[in-house]
């Protein structure tokens, strides 16, 4: 593959590199904050599966209503941190 011909000075490239790393840091921070504030869909789904399997094992037990559709984002999410959840499982 041929590299694209670019018109950039070394200073511009340095600035771009700094901006790139700053934005990656912002993205990672947003990811961490997102996880902390609203544990993500995967864990809700895992909990749902867990509840469903429990319910299947013990059909007499009252079923827990499933959370609202995830895409609305209004569903109640577990407050547990993901790594803690994984450890517990």
């Amino acid at each position: 593959m041929a590299a694209t011909e670019v018109n950039t000075s070394p200073e511009e490239l340095r600035r771009a590199r700094r901006w790139l790393w700053a934005m990656i840091a912002v993205g990672v921070l947003a990811f961490a904050l997102g996880l902390r504030a609203a544990p993500p869909v995967v864990f809700i789904r895992a909990e749902q599966e867990e509840q469903a399997s429990k319910a299947a094992q013990n059909p007499k037990e009252e079923k827990t209503p499933p959370p609202e559709e995830q895409e609305s984002g209004e569903a109640e999410r577990p407050t547990m941190l993901p790594w803690l959840y994984l450890l517990k499982r």
Partner: protein, 583 residues
């Protein structure tokens, strides 16, 4: 339908429609062009429908969602699938680039602009189609980019091939390419007016009436065809919001600069990733699509909203359903993911991701306003910020307002929509001189000519076009020296006679020198001061409109530029003035 007869026809031949009547009344060349405009519009609509069906097919196969939204399907998938399917997109792009020995990077709009302005409308159809299909499959597999890139490029490349095949003049091919690209965007979003305005404002940089007609016809045709094939439904689910009170207008006024700043950050991020990731070894560039999509897939295990073009999350923001946390963190993550994917070489549009970025930030603004006691619908601010981001990233406020207005069909929002978009475009342009599209061209050393219009002719000055004088001599130079200097000078260059302080005294041209040859008996005594002529002089602060008027009245190809003291600063070439006003 029988509507009338051709006025010039003696046989009073019946016509079947006003379109036929119009076409028959045109000269042959113009008729062929207008038929091509209709064909390009129809092909734009058909290819948009086909590519959208391909996208749905890929999404259904990859994510096993049937009839559900893309987000519902990706959320229901296992974590492993959410990680591996996007990685597959990276593998596919790398394989395609290796097989074709060409990088697939880019979002398409910049290369269309380059084709229109620099390459006389040339776009290779097979390569563009291949790239479009790869782009659609990548987006279907979860690349955080827009499908519109493929739709725009397919329309433009088809138009370019048809125009060249039928041997149309260069300016008609360029216009036809803009028609094809606009048709693609009109069909992609079901926005005929917005698509036409996008073509005029972003691709052609002019609202001239002779460009307006063909673009509108192509967009209307594409939208009609697409509506027949795909159905007439809005791209986004938008309630009929109303923002007309002074409090709401004040909030819209506040939102404008914030979205303008966010748009500038978005442009800078996309460019920084593009610039840095284009560098490096061949191995690194080859591996980048896979590595980047693995990282995005990894993040999508927790946040499936990051995958694909993000329609469902935008709908969530527009309906005011997303919680504040997600409204704040998702745009930042999505911006980095989009910039990473685009910079790594995954082909796809940046238009839809920018709508995602704006909609969620606007939704967050609305929620915060609500939190502080303003009784406003957050979804309405998501909509305003969508328009603002579009205006801020493309630097095209008119088409941004029209596109979002068409998406909503809600006239009640038009005032805050215009306000937010205009302020956002102004702030973003002040912070980032280049738009999302022109920055790519600038980076690749592609210089677009300034659009010709009265404002530009009056605002550009002689100093912008002044070049150093190529040949100068003193008034005491002999005929032999003058002749030698003129013969050695570059073709078309005149010899400027200046005194020792560089004050301009006159000019000697080669033609003028030839006129002196019959006087050969006295030539050995002739000096430059005897041979020179006077010439009109330009001042550095003169507008190009004045220069054009002077050039129209004199035979000279080049005129000198002097300062107030008469010192020669350089020259301006007639060809350079004409070149700046191209198109």
């Amino acid at each position: 339908m029988k509507v009338g007869t051709h006025p010039g026809s003696h046989t009073a031949e019946p016509l079947t429609s006003p379109t036929l009547f119009f076409l028959r009344s045109l000269p042959r060349g113009a008729r062929r062009f207008w038929i091509l405009v209709l064909v390009v519009g129809a092909i734009g609509g058909i290819s948009a429908a086909l590519l959208v069906q391909l996208l749905r097919l890929v999404q259904a196969v990859a994510w096993q969602g049937h009839g559900e939204s893309f987000l519902a399907a990706t959320s229901a998938a296992t974590g492993l699938r959410r990680w591996m399917v996007p990685a597959l997109a990276g593998v596919m792009v790398t394989a395609a680039a290796l097989a074709t020995r060409r990088p697939l990077r880019g979002h398409g709009t910049a290369s269309i602009i380059e084709s229109i302005w620099i390459r006389s409308g040339r776009l290779a159809l097979p390569w563009t189609l291949f790239r479009g299909v790869v782009s659609i499959i990548a987006v279907g597999l979860g690349a955080p980019l827009g499908r519109e890139g493929a739709l725009l490029q397919t329309g433009a490349a088809t138009a370019s091939s048809l125009g060249r095949w039928l041997d149309l003049p260069g300016d008609k091919i360029r216009l036809l390419v803009a028609c094809g690209a606009s048709a693609g965007i009109a069909a992609a979003y079901n926005v005929p007016i917005g698509g036409a305005l996008f073509g005029l404002e972003v691709l052609l940089g002019s609202f001239a009436l002779d460009l307006f007609g063909p673009i509108v016809v192509a967009c209307v045709t594409a939208t009609l065809v697409s509506r027949i094939l795909v159905g007439d439904h809005p791209s986004y689910l938008i309630p009929a919001y109303q923002l007309s009170g002074p409090k709401e207008m004040t909030l819209a006024l506040l939102l404008g600069p914030l979205v303008g700043i966010a748009s500038a950050v978005y442009i800078r991020t996309i460019n920084a990733f593009g610039l840095v990731l284009e560098q490096g070894s061949e191995l690194r560039r080859t591996a980048l699509p896979v590595v980047t999509m693995l990282a995005i897939g990894g993040a999508a295990i927790w946040f499936p909203e990051l995958l694909g073009n993000g329609y469902d999350s935008v709908n969530g923001a527009l309906l005011g359903k997303l919680p504040l946390t997600l409204l704040l963190v998702l745009p930042l993550m999505k911006m980095v993911a989009t910039a990473g994917a685009s910079g790594a070489g995954i082909p796809g549009g940046l238009f839809t991701p920018s709508l995602f970025f704006g909609a969620l930030l606007g939704g967050a603004f609305g929620k915060l306003a609500q939190h502080f006691g303003a009784p406003v619908p957050p979804g309405a601010f998501a909509l305003l910020a969508m328009a603002g981001t579009l205006a801020g990233t493309t630097h095209a406020a008119v088409s941004a307002v029209l596109i979002i207005f068409e998406l909503t069909g809600n006239y009640a929002l038009i005032l805050p929509l215009m306000l937010t978009s205009a302020i956002s475009a102004f702030v973003s342009r002040a912070l980032e001189r280049e738009s999302l599209y022109s920055a790519v061209l600038q980076r690749r050393n592609v210089e677009l000519p300034e659009p010709i219009n009265a404002h530009w002719l009056h605002s550009a000055h002689v100093r912008d076009l002044t070049r150093p004088a190529r040949a100068k001599t003193l008034p005491v130079a002999s005929f032999e020296e003058v002749a030698l200097q003129l013969l050695e000078a570059p073709a078309g260059a005149d010899l400027w006679v200046v005194d020792e302080e560089n004050r301009l005294l006159g000019v000697i041209t080669l033609d003028q020198l030839k006129g002196h040859l019959p006087e050969h008996s006295v030539l050995d005594r002739a000096r430059a001061s005897d041979l020179m002529q006077s010439t009109p002089r330009l001042r550095p602060d003169m507008s190009l409109a004045e220069v054009a008027r002077i050039f129209a009245e004199v035979p000279e190809e080049e005129l000198p530029v002097v300062d107030k003291r008469g010192l020669l600063l350089g020259t301006v070439n007639k060809r350079e003035v004409m070149r700046r006003g191209r198109y």
